[in-house]
């Protein structure tokens, strides 16, 4: 039973990375922009966060650095895509390729560094409940932050005026433009918000989740987060649930290895990637279902005045 609690705790922890990045990507996709640069932004943010943690010793500063790095990269992507009308897929890919190279380049001097033991957290009283405590209430604050973010984003998108404008920009930029909303600036803001959250997720990986720097350590989580938004049909709470599902799959592999299951570790490492494919297939099977939920202008450029 105790092991189940630990597995659940590890699942929440692993899911948090995907949830934060996925929710960030959801914001910019709701505004009509697909950013395939998630993986690159997360990598650069991971090294930015780790380097900051090494030099300052502050996790908070590390998160801020990660968010800054993500937002900056997203801004470069945004200017190209929104003002220069470059192809969103190609530009996002460029960001991912650049991020992989740049983080490896900057990270060389940090590969041997350590940032010491990570602080332990416990919610007062609740953490002492048997089973439930270790499973749910001894997590890093960002684990709860991700849940709050999903709920907050739901409120923002469906209950606030600003959220309505954001969705309008994603559904019909022409109408939003005709109503006088600055479509391009709103899109840039959404893209940068997405980048900042991907950055936060990247920094969480290198500072909390596996506190060290290894080249390419994001290992496809940015791409899985991209798949999550489709899987969740662009709903924040479903992104959160999907993230935990993938977190669970990732953790299952370690759990099975711990149990001494006789499978080569490589098959287990494949699991998250294979399940992403399976889930994509299941959710995409009905094209109408995707079409009904997808922001209508997703991936399409918008030039006001032409």
């Amino acid at each position: 039973m105790n092991e189940l609690a630990l597995l659940l705790a590890a699942t929440l922890n692993a899911g948090t990375v995907l949830a934060i990045a996925g929710l960030g990507l959801l914001i910019n996709e709701r505004a009509g922009i697909v950013n395939l640069g998630a993986e690159g932004m997360m990598l650069v943010a991971a090294i930015a966060g780790f380097a900051t943690a090494v030099h300052s010793g502050s996790d908070t500063l590390a998160f801020v650095a990660g968010m800054g790095a993500g937002a900056l990269m997203a801004a470069a992507f945004g200017v190209l895509v929104i003002w220069l009308n470059t192809n969103q897929y190609a530009t996002g890919l460029a960001l991912s390729l650049f991020g992989a190279g740049f983080s490896a380049f900057v990270g060389i001097s940090f590969t041997q560094q350590r940032i010491g033991t990570r602080p332990q957290f416990a919610v007062p009283y609740l953490a002492d409940i048997p089973l439930v405590g270790p499973a749910l209430f001894r997590q890093h604050p960002l684990v709860y932050g991700a849940i709050a973010l999903a709920l907050g984003l739901t409120w923002f998108l469906y209950r606030s005026r600003a959220g309505l404008v954001l969705r309008a920009v994603g559904e019909s930029p022409e109408s939003a433009h005709a109503l006088g909303y600055p479509v391009r600036r709103i899109r840039l803001a959404a893209v940068m918000a997405g980048g900042a959250l991907c950055g936060l997720a990247g920094a969480y990986i290198s500072v909390i989740y596996t506190p060290l720097w290894v080249e390419g350590m994001v290992a496809g989580k940015g791409w899985i987060a991209l798949a999550l938004t489709t899987f969740a049909t662009w709903r924040p709470t479903r992104v959160l649930l999907g993230a935990y599902l993938f977190g669970g799959v990732t953790m299952l592999q370690f759990h099975l290895q711990g149990e001494g299951v006789q499978i080569a570790s490589q098959w287990l490492t494949m699991l998250p990637y294979l399940s992403t494919i399976v889930v994509l297939v299941l959710i995409s099977r009905n094209p109408n279902w995707i079409k009904a939920n997808m922001p209508a202008s997703l991936g399409k450029p918008f030039f006001p005045g032409n």
Binding site: L97, F98, G99, G101, F102, F105, T230, A264, Y273, N286
Partner: protein
Amino acid sequence: MLRLEARPQPSKAMSIGSPLLALVITVLIGIALFAALGKDPGRGLQVFFIEPVKSAYALSELSIKAVPLVLIALGLAVCFRSNIWNIGAEGQFVVGALAAGWVAMQAGPGTAWLGKGIVVPILLAGMLGGMAWAALVALLRDRFNANEILVSLMLVYVADMLLAYLVYGPWKDPAGYNFPQTITFDATTKIPRLITGLRLNIGLVVALAAVGALWVFLFRTYRGFALQVGGLAPAAARYAGFSSRRALWTALLISGGLAGLAGGLEAAGPLGQLTPYVPAGYGFAAIIVAFVGRLHPVGIVFSAVLMSMFYIGGELAQSRLGLPKALTGVFQGLLLFSLLACDTLIHYRVRFGKRVAA
């Protein structure tokens, strides 16, 4: 104020000028980066642009990198022209290497009668392996509408793990001191070299033949034309009765086959055995090669040579200037990023001053 004004027609000159401009921007950033790191930018330019082409040996090494890049990028150009986003060529390359490696491992005294002919089934196996991996993407997209970008990319990780499983497990060389590697392939399987003493091999001939074949396919055949119409104007293609499903399968099979062929040439050529280091990033670098080469077979040759210079320059920067090899990735990413920005100039003119009221 700077502003963009749409050109009445896309500029032909800029579509060739843009990659050159992007290269200039990348070089300028590179010079600034070298200066910032306290290295002599002149030495930097030398290791990236002079050393890789200054001798027959250097050119032969350059070809070792350029051949896989050309082959993979040709296939990607077909995909991108058809608006099919195969970004998993790296996985198709790895599976091609696996399939070719499996055939190469069967070679021995029993296959001696084939002589050098064994290279043909090896390369065919590589091609089929890459095709099969790409066919998975086509199948899931065709049958279940699953996004090809994400599926092809996820399959890269799966292919890497498959390779790791095989070289750590069933295919591990029993006499290899427990290193994760297969046996060294039989000498007959070695891809024939063109000039004694140099690593330059028939891969170069294969790649150039592929350039010619793809040029004919894209610009002189009905199938190739149909593919491109589907990419540029899906509605027009539907109206003309061009099947989008056929385009999907054709593009992915061509691209997977070429990436697999590159994997086969790599496994039986420079590598000579399978190790966890088969994936060298060619599949991703080829995306940049394809775009910088304007998705045109001839352009791809030039951009592949340029990208190979980045690879060799990065290695030299490491050994001679003490800079990390990862510099290559930085410059490759920067090149694509600046290219996409410069491409705006194909469709727009930069104007100064305020917009004149229409």
